[in-house]
Symmetry: C2
Subunit: 301 residues, 2 copies
């Protein structure tokens, strides 16, 4: 869904020629071709030379992909990026696979998505107005970073750069932890005597709270395995906070509960509604101006 949406966004911007799709699931390739997302297919071991490679798999698969890519002699001329949710593990996988860091591989992560799975759910405006975080390596070619930024900006995204470690710590809080909590609610309720009949009484709050529990299980297993230190940092703090709130409820500490709920509402109302409309200002404009020079059209062989 994410990789195909990136392709659709680039197609809409007129920035790609021929697109070659690679997937272990044959049905996904058929769907992608039917929908006009890809033009032809290949395997990871039979790639033709291309201008751009977008790696959009669960992060647990990336070591295998980098190992395969490392054999292609034409790779030095190819721009490479990924959309993985954990950046330190992706960078470590690339470092392990390539004798020298591939200067044209720019690790990235779009902070966007939905709980659906597969190319059938891809849309061209998936990233319009959303943030994309790039976590360049110190050995990255600056031009490659600018070109990847320009590609995302052409899809309407706000592009930012930060270190891979900062990315993993922050996203563990705002994305990975909520997914774990959401999965845990389903697991917790499913393992009681009440079973599934209680879900008949799930209103809007429950539905939105557990929306993320409909996400791709393999993707989220891989994220938990590849960013467990940062997830545990926040998860342990969450467990402590929840134990404190449990005691406030048990003690009927109304004033303290009210203070917690008012603070939560205030922060959410003030900070969450803004994020999608925020611009990353000057840097985007500069990078957008470089679009014409860095992205060459219809060059895919």
């Amino acid at each position: 869904m994410i990789g195909a949406s990136f392709v659709l966004g680039l197609r809409q911007a007129g920035l790609v020629g021929k697109v070659v799709g690679v997937d272990v699931a044959e049905a996904e390739l058929v769907t992608a071709k039917t929908l006009g997302i890809i033009d032809e297919t290949a395997t990871i071991d039979t790639l033709p030379p291309v201008d751009l490679i977008i790696i959009a798999t669960p992060v647990g698969v990336m070591p295998r992909i980098f190992n395969a890519l490392a054999h292609y002699p034409w790779l030095a001329d190819t721009l490479i990026t990924d959309v993985g949710s954990t950046k330190q593990s992706v960078i470590a996988a690339a470092e392990a696979a390539f004798p020298d860091w591939p200067r044209n591989f720019v690790p990235g992560h779009p902070v966007a998505g939905r709980e659906y799975i597969g190319v059938a759910y891809a849309v061209a405006d998936m990233f319009d107005g959303f943030r994309v975080v790039l976590t360049p390596h110190e050995k990255n070619d600056h031009g490659a970073v600018m070109r990847v930024a320009a590609l995302w900006q052409a899809c309407g995204a706000h592009v930012e750069q930060m270190s891979a470690s900062a990315h993993d710590r922050v996203l563990a809080a705002t994305s990975h932890l909520p997914h774990v909590l959401s999965y845990c609610l389903m697991e917790s309720l499913a393992t009681t005597e009440y079973e599934t009949s209680i879900f008949d009484y799930a209103a809007g709050g429950f539905k939105s709270f557990t929306r993320t529990a409909s996400s791709n299980p393999v993707m989220w297993r891989d994220i938990c395995l590849n960013n467990n230190t940062d997830i545990l940092y926040w998860l342990d703090h969450y467990l402590d906070t929840l134990a404190e709130m449990r005691d406030l409820i048990a003690d009927e500490a109304g004033d303290e509960l009210l203070a917690v709920y008012e603070r939560a509402k205030s922060i959410r109302d003030n900070h969450i509604h803004l994020t999608q409309t925020q611009s990353v200002a000057k840097s985007s404009d500069t990078a957008t101006q470089t679009l014409a020079s860095f992205v060459s059209k219809d060059k895919t062989k």
Copy 2:
């Protein structure tokens, strides 16, 4: 928002004449009158005789309301219902206020709502397709129960009956617990060194997970105080489950994590999408047929 939406739904169905609004917040009454939701205002101590009273306040306020209502000599001719999220505490408050249980008071709870606060967010179709649970008292007049059911059905709701204790236990799982977990996430993240800048990286998952944290803090404090036994039943189980998941993540137990995530996704995909389209079948149809005889129009004095 809930009470005014009920009024708008009844207005749309042509089932109410004059509507008298009561609220401690003067601004809410002005808004309600401007929007055509209410026709005139009163205080809880200066109510004119009415055919129907809808109590739509945080549950912590209900004892005071019942105490005031108990003084009205005309109350035996009035249908009364409420929309409180905890039913045992509401019933206990009514039992304490009235020397005899008011046979025409039918406790109810619409399993619907949004995170907004106030009459300005009221909409006539708020309950269309959603469940409303009635928890009648053993001393309730059967006709009163049928009339309240018919009023909700006129707003498009599916009406069910269950015991107050069953309601409180089930809703603690599907509504109260998720709200506590959502408030806790905001509190947990807000009490770290990272503060609010991390919320810039909140994508769709975080937004939907914390949507409920924008709900009315007073309402949710009251729910926690009035249903704490049932909330703690589920919360303690959640804490245990989360501690187990924490250990799976720490131990990098990929197979076990995948099993949890697949089970969660399967349950959610199979059970949550259905709830809004499920009908409560025969009982609704029967009750709808009684609408004409039980609900008398334009009788409000």
